[in-house]
Amino acid sequence: MTSTEKIEPFMRELSRALSSLKETDRDDILLEIRSHLEHRKEESRLDEALVSLGSAKECARGFYEEIRLQEAFTDGGPTKTIGALVALASRRITAAFGLLAAGVFYLMAAGFAVTAVAEVVTPELAGFWVDADKGAFFMGVIDPDSTATATEMLGSWLIPVAAGLGVIALICGQWLGRFFIRRMMRNSADRLA
């Protein structure tokens, strides 16, 4: 197998593995890796370089993870944070835990938002319901049949309370997401070694 026959398939596979990156980022990486391989070829060290780079997918993963993590960390918003956690969850256990933990709080935030809106749309069914006989409580939209046994406790305070709790849940989800992103950025240094 000639050197070209070794470089080209690697570069094609690397290009495919990096396809979800922005074109300018991908092209810059591909150009640099190609330059690296061509120089090693001239030094008759191509095989050594290919072994050290690992498979094209492994090589791409190093860039991909660094970029996703850094974008999420720099942006700081929930979309990039969740996007990075979702993208990395199948490969890194820390991301999977982060997604689970942050996801629970984001879902709670969404639930509180829906409750606040429901108080406007169906005020007779939305509320903070307490069933003293069963010792149960629930915030949200209740089944019409259950209104006979449950008592609504907040009245017009439901909207500000639900909105406040939603914001708290959103902040907690965001803090947890960024905590796991930071943790993975620190762990990236471990993998260098």
Partner: protein
């Protein structure tokens, strides 16, 4: 914790400091950095790990890459230089590292 795990922990962050330190004196490409590091295997940087690190440092604004084509022809190389932000980070990191090294040496000795 095994020795390998301890070694991995010890290297945490060292690769970044090593790269910034080498770029303090002169601009280098990824290959140039690897060749300089070939005599220092304990730093633990390889072909596969140096480019994602350089990519991150460039995104963070600590280094700046520029493509250079040799006058005699041949393949171009992306050469990296320290930015003022990278130089400031290196100064702080070096100071912390030197303090750490001195204090640890007083405990474990230098042999």
């Amino acid at each position: 914790m095994g020795i390998d795990s301890w070694k991995s922990q010890l290297r945490k962050g060292a690769a970044e400091l090593a790269v910034l330190g080498m770029l303090r004196e002169k601009d280098l490409s990824g290959i140039g950095l690897l060749d300089e590091l070939s005599a220092k295997p304990e730093i633990g940087l390889s072909d596969g790990s140096i480019y994602p690190l350089l990519n991150r440092l460039e995104r963070e604004g600590r280094i700046k890459g520029a493509w250079v084509t040799p006058k005699a022809g041949g393949h171009g190389q992306k050469k990296y230089s320290l930015t003022p932000k990278g130089r400031a980070a290196l100064k702080v990191m070096s100071s912390i590292w030197n303090g750490f090294k001195v204090q640890l040496t007083t405990i474990v000795g230098d042999e």
